[in-house]
Symmetry: C3
Subunit: 251 residues, 3 copies
């Protein structure tokens, strides 16, 4: 039972995707006692999975599974394997390690739409939840994408069978995707996006608190958010419920 | 026994109040072996207490008690309960969970002075240490308060029976209270404040290192500081003792 | 065995020096299961060692030793002891606690070259690995040092027997040493330095990701980096291997 239960009120919580960039295994077990109820997916960021002992990876995934949390390796690892022609080995290894989802992206490489579609399909056929990502890792490349390009790619991915599409924000949340160089949300572009896609299928990377607040105030507590730092999950939950100054009385 | 004991010199340490925004329970037990001697109060930030399992809350409070540390829920949770007319239930639940202090604030809501005074009194009557907070959460509202307003409210709270008064700085320490938009201390206002209140009853929220340094260099190691990140407690202790470059040779 | 082993390719990894500013002991044990293979030295930052229980210090050093990691107390503690005339007691205590290296610096104090040389020699004679540091803690003092001064001091220290020389960057990495006020690497000065010293003996403090990326892209994965935050070790390893967007395809 939750503390201060008498203050609880019903609300619809959006998906929360946490960035794990190398948490220690026993720490994860302990951590989930506090946060486990509020996490839907965990991403082992970019290629971090490939530098960690496989028993540790499996142990961590098992702790997450105990709380019904699905784990996936970052899109950069998919790309690294894909450009080396090792996509089959990649999917096989994901399965063996216990990952239940994969991310298909082209943030660091160029992959044709045809190949992207096939990759999404193959990952689905292998039983994975598929998240794709739209956006480039390098700000100078990312800004070549117009909001119309992004909308088109989002709908392409969903048509190809992706379960969710993530809007790139990186760990910093600055000068990338829908964020200006100070990390502020570009309202105009966000409005275009919201009008042209199914918002329930979109997950916004929003590493900074002011970004989480902006999305919650715009779309409500049901907005899907990703790249949440592991130690900001409880804060995010309070923002979604109006239990922090920034959203107090506004939810 | 402390390492490098022969380097120790006597000094008067001010209060240290740590912000805990959802640390895992076993981690807290482990953490206190390093930091336990240097913490006086722990605040479970804003409404975080209301989204965590009550057994976990109790377990954590017990670990803190083992080191004579008093725990209290953030003022925002008090306000959330108060505006819903649930102040009695709030105090009752705080007692049951093991909290030994409460924070009375109006950072996110408007509470009349009369009601504020009564709330302080009732909390004291129920056996809690009472900390109040002066300042508003939203920068645009906070800056309507002059330094004279703050002084008046501080003394009002102390007259009403508050044990300590906290000067709002938020987690960020920017554009709020005594801090300008870059987080620098406003010297003029600080001087007015220091001249008109009992500094031993004041606790300054000072989340950033440069702020901790500024307060220590101005008031000495005995200054009371709050909103210290959990992983900055050891750093703060070295600042108070001149064991870090910023205060080396100046204490 | 590492996960995704089939993606591994050979490379030469430079030294990684981690800043530990007070991690809890059991956490360290757990943490090393993830990061232990990628750390060469751990610095207990500035004077933090002197405010922590000696049994905790010993316990932590032992966990690090299990992974062949050498631990040393921050240079500021050496300086604090040295200016008090307690250098012998300092070395003795370092040995008793299990430290295998020491840092000789003058970031917060003035120590003559003659004395610096003797301190390096004495620490070596006592069996310690010796790291020295070049740079001042306060930006206004540090900027009085020209790059030529730094080069001269680096070579002086190496001639005096130092094993490695660390280039000051502090925890912040801003407005200090080779970094401008925004934390960008000053290319000109770095080039002068690289031309005039043995780069294999240099360890660059590079707390920020963009700094780690800059050094890796300039000198390759074999560059030695220090003041790495404990939770950025896995990220750094992926940067060294081209497994993160910033260095993907460039290594």
């Amino acid at each position: 039972m939750r503390a201060f239960e008498f203050l609880y009120k019903d609300f619809e919580r959006g998906l929360t995707v946490v960035l794990d960039k190398g948490l220690p295994p026993k720490y994860v077990e302990d951590y989930l006692k506090v946060c486990g109820d509020y996490i839907d997916f965990v991403k082992f960021g970019w290629g971090t999975s490939a530098v960690i002992n496989r028993d540790v990876i499996k142990e961590k995934i098992n702790y997450y599974k105990d709380w019904d949390i699905k784990v996936y390796p970052g899109g950069t690892l998919f790309e690294y394997a894909y450009v080396k022609g090792k996509f089959d080995e990649f999917l096989d290894e994901c399965g063996k390690l216990g990952f239940e989802a994969v991310e298909i992206s082209d943030g660091s490489s160029d992959i044709s739409l045809e190949k992207r579609k096939n990759a999404i399909g193959k990952a689905k056929d292998n039983g994975f939840v598929v998240l794709t990502e739209v956006g480039k890792k390098l700000p100078e490349k990312d800004k070549e994408l117009t909001i119309e390009d992004r909308v088109k790619l989002i709908n392409f991915d969903l048509d190809a069978g992706a379960d969710y599409v993530i809007i790139e924000g990186r760990e910093s949340g600055k000068g990338i995707g829908l964020f200006d160089k100070d990390g502020k949300v570009k309202e105009d572009e966000l409005n275009v996006l919201a009008k042209n896609v199914d918002i329930n299928k979109i997950i916004f990377e929003a590493p900074q608190k002011n970004q989480q607040v902006a999305f919650i105030l715009k779309f409500g507590s049901s907005v899907n958010l990703a790249n949440i730092a592991f130690d900001e999950v409880i804060s995010l939950e309070t923002l979604r419920r109006g239990l922090r100054g920034d959203t107090f009385g506004k939810i």
